[in-house]
Symmetry: C2
Subunit: 206 residues, 2 copies
DNA sequence: CTCATAACTTGACAATGTCAAGATAAGATC
DNA sequence: GATCTTATCTTGACATTGTCAAGTTATGAG
């Protein structure tokens, strides 16, 4: 009958469950709360089981970051899919998706942008992270003012929204007034629209 | 004769030396490389000595972050002091100071913006970190378009430069072309100037 | 049925943060 | 000068962590 003591050997889901546990640890205990042994315990396996699926702690971290980037992409695409065809509307959409992600998965947002080293040889990670940049790039492309480099627009847009999201998370309490009055992203985006339109002069007309 | 085995008791510099060691550890081993015991060893004291000056690891982290913010302020002020009196020139200066800091102290830059919790009751930390925001605020003030909230300009500026610096550090390798071609900050700042000028219409007229 | 291999477990080790208790030096008090 | 007090460390211990080596078990192939 064997109820459940050893009822899930080789079910192939441990790797996923370890990443699940890792995400939850990051959420519950902050950026330093990640622990291989704790993840193993949460998944109901022995302390060294993660060592089979991940070479080391960085391996688990990289897998978590890969998931983080995938959810990041999903958040941007979900917004963009609902947007109309106008280039700036699509750009605005992915920016809002950016914020959706930061608000919905703060632990993953901070994790992937923590500056910590991940395994750059991991395929999952590389694919997911460069996909995020690809979304930005293709959404920016129609808005690049003629005669200027595409990187300039990309970095302008990305700096603005990334800075906004990152500061909102790490520094929101600096100014007590900002706690309530943190300006809306759309206010910043309208500045961005002005800046791009000013240089473009007359291209994205309506 | 006692050469030097116990030649530096109570010299009152241990706390500083521990912070020095912590900064160096962050630089050498990355954001996860900080260790109380290692700092103690570097300072030539026993493994529990830091416990006297800092309640725990977060105490040391907070002290390191406080130093990070102070150097941050210095970098911005050093540039601003050399700038002319024109408001946008001063704003541009602190933005360049921002980048100076990120480039000169990448480990501290990432550390203070890592999202990790610091001791918000620590006076040194609170003073230093809100001073950084104060520099931004007072430099932005003359540039706030009439009829708009000061926070909007502050966050616009800060998002842009912070996003630029933070992305440059954590994501520079996404686009191989960006390795060489990362656009200059001044290009982004000219967009910012346009955006502010557009809303201001006619205020900072030379 | 055997067996080869993937997916774990068990056990060990060094390093870490943290705490408790002791030691020691410097200055104050008598 | 002797004693006391207090700040500043040291020593020792403990639980937790990442990592490795070696053993174990299940699973599917033959």
């Amino acid at each position: 009958m064997m109820n459940a003591p050893k009822s899930r050997p080789r079910d192939g889901t441990l790797r996923t469950k370890l990443v699940d546990a890792g995400v939850q640890l990051l959420r519950d205990r902050g950026p330093d709360g990640l622990s291989l042994r704790e993840c193993a315990a949460m998944a109901g396996v022995s302390h060294a089981a993660p060592g089979y699926h991940f070479k080391n702690l960085m391996g688990l971290s990289t897998a978590i970051a890969a998931r983080g980037y995938r959810l990041f992409c999903n958040a941007m695409l979900a917004r963009r899919d609902k947007a109309g065809p106008a280039p700036f509307e699509r750009l605005s959409a992915i920016c809002h998706g950016y914020l959706d992600y930061a608000a919905g998965h703060p632990e993953l947002f901070l994790f992937i942008f923590s500056g910590q080293k991940f395994n750059e040889n991991d395929q999952d990670f590389c694919v997911a992270s460069s996909e995020a940049y690809g979304i930005l790039r293709e959404t920016c492309a129609p808005l690049v003012p003629p005669g200027s480099e595409i990187e300039e627009t990309e970095i302008l847009v990305w700096s603005l929204v990334h800075g906004y999201a990152h500061l909102a998370m790490t520094r929101k309490k600096d100014n007590p007034k900002l706690g309530r009055g943190w300006p809306d992203l759309d206010a910043l985006l309208s500045h961005l629209r002005n800046a791009l339109a000013a240089q473009s002069a007359d291209k994205t007309r309506e």
